[in-house]
Amino acid sequence: MPDASPEPRDAALVARGLKKRFGATLAVDGIDVVVPKGARFGLIGPNGAGKTTFIKLLLGICKKDEGSVVVLGGDPDDTAVRRRIGYLPERLAIPPSFSALAFLDGVARIKGIPSSRRRAEIRDTLALVGLEEVAWGRATGGYSKGMRQRTGLAAALLGQPDLLVLDEPTDGIDPLGRRQIREVILQAGRRGATIFLNSHLLAETERVCDHVAVLHKGRVVKAGALVSLRRTDAFRVVFARRLKDGPDDDDGAAARQRAVDAGFVPQPGDDGDDMWSTSFIGTDAVALSAALQAALGRGLVVVEVSPALVDLETILEQSMGADAAAASTAKEQAA
């Protein structure tokens, strides 16, 4: 599913018709993706969807069979381009005998960070990712999974890359640590870096990313700005239980009936103690305003009006369902 905007010249990453086959398995089946510069892009999909293979194709770690990839305006095989990329693989293997300082020193040298600021940058980055200072000089073989992950993230952040590709960055990190890592990623985003995040934690992707692509069976089945993808053809309108001129002990039944009369659909699962939720079906703001006026005229008290949004889990489910239906139709047509 091609993303028409923005123009590739404003993009940090452009993949066109990307295909990769491993034996009989088509792992990546013609992916078209454009990631705008400065975007926080999330890749989601079920296990085996081809997410990690797609990332490896983008970075030139795997050779593509068909298609083209442009990263930061150049070829990912170009070392000048790769100098501007920070990558955290899904299962980073740090030499167990290396300390975090020694490991990052090697990475910093390869990234061409001048010796004058290498040491300071390594220490600053380790502090940023929250690795305790007492552990910096210890062999990483004795690190917990979370500590190794933080070291890997520090390696990706070294040199202030323009593109940060993170494959499951919070894997093995506790909830509080996750929050810290999320802040580090967002901070890189605020600096202007493009974030490419692959995480099976949908809530994390939702909190970090502003663009999302859903990958299923090696294809992008849905892509776009997160705010557009989450939007539905409805508004969420919350009313107070009590009416403007009604008694305090009203159980809300009267208000509910008046809201229904005004054209709102009750959403009982989303009710609070002193308020209750409804949906207004439709995207026409004029019609919504008229319905609200009618509700106000009936003595209802409006607490909140917002676009009705779905979460990423629902988007993923819907995308995969739609893809399965499309595949089934194609199969029937072929038969």
């Binding site: 030139g60 770690i61 990558y87 693989p89 980073l92 293997a93 030499p95 005998s97 061409g112």
Partner: protein, 277 residues
């Protein structure tokens, strides 16, 4: 420059490994043993008497450098044959470890070209072996300088042949390790080539074992490119003993080993270049 950075990581990691630590402890122990067990009486550059492990050596008076020649020769052979064997075992896991899943992806996403990664591993391993060889043979030379008041770099120059032989073997181990990423298979390939390199000196005898022209041609084809390790060891021993070595005899052996190593490294680069990680 990236080759140097990769090689640096290889050396740094190897120094943290127990096997490499064992090698240097063994070298140090051997040198200490030699220091305390050897007693040479040198008068005006001639050996007046000598004791090894306290036993008097029954020798007539000889110039000390002449006396030391067989010792240097023996040192060269030990360095060559034992050093190569230890080197194969100790370095078999270097390439598979550098190319293991989770590490190679990270390296390839850094500004390192694939061939730089391969050449960096090769250079790093050779640096390690050069260091071990220099420490052992240099240490012996130094001890003998203190004990016999005569210094020569001939043993170190002789040991360079061991490094050359190992370079040819490790290039194949690197190519195999790049292909299968297994330390055991890499070591197996190294040991096989080691054995082949030793027996290839008797190529004519081996080829003549059979009367079949096809088998003979096949044996010729297989054995011809194999570096002649025995010849290399002999050249090393000759150099260590300070013998005059004919360049015409040395060049084909040395050139063959270098060409073989170069070809195997190119193959390793091609394998890594074409692989998906």
């Amino acid at each position: 420059m990236n080759v140097v950075h990769v090689a640096r990581d290889v050396v740094r990691e190897a120094f943290a490994s127990k096997l490499m630590l064992l090698l240097f402890v063994a070298i140090a122990a051997g040198l200490l043993l030699l220091t305390f067990s050897l007693d040479l009486d040198v008068v005006d550059g001639a050996l007046a008497g000598s004791r090894l492990f306290g036993q008097a050596a029954d020798l007539s008076i000889v110039p000390v450098d002449v006396f030391l020649r067989p010792a240097f020769q023996a040192l060269a052979w030990v360095t060559f044959y034992a050093g190569l064997l230890f080197g194969i075992v100790a370095t078999a896991d270097v390439a598979p470890r550098m190319l293991q899943a989770g590490r190679v992806e990270h390296l390839l996403a850094l500004p390192v070209r694939r061939f730089e990664l391969v050449v960096g591993i090769y250079v790093g391993v050779l640096c390690l072996c050069a260091l071990a060889t220099a420490v052992s043979t240099g240490g012996v030379s130094l001890i003998l300088f203190v004990k016999a008041k005569t210094f020569t770099v001939a043993p170190i120059a002789g040991a360079a042949m061991a490094l050359l032989g190992f370079g040819a073997i490790y290039a194949v181990m690197l190519a195999v390790g790049s292909l299968v990423r297994s330390a055991a298979v890499s070591a197996g390939a190294g040991l096989f080539l080691y054995a082949l390199g030793v027996i290839v000196a008797s190529k004519a005898t081996i080829v003549n074992w059979t009367t079949s022209k096809v088998v003979r041609a096949l044996l010729e084809l297989v054995l011809t490119p194999v570096p002649n390790l025995r010849a290399l060891a002999d050249v090393g021993a000759g150099v260590a003993a300070g013998e005059a070595v004919a360049l015409s005899a040395v060049l084909p052996v040395v050139g063959g080993a270098v060409a073989f190593a170069g070809f195997a490294v190119v193959v390793a680069c091609a394998i890594v270049q074409s692989k998906d990680y």
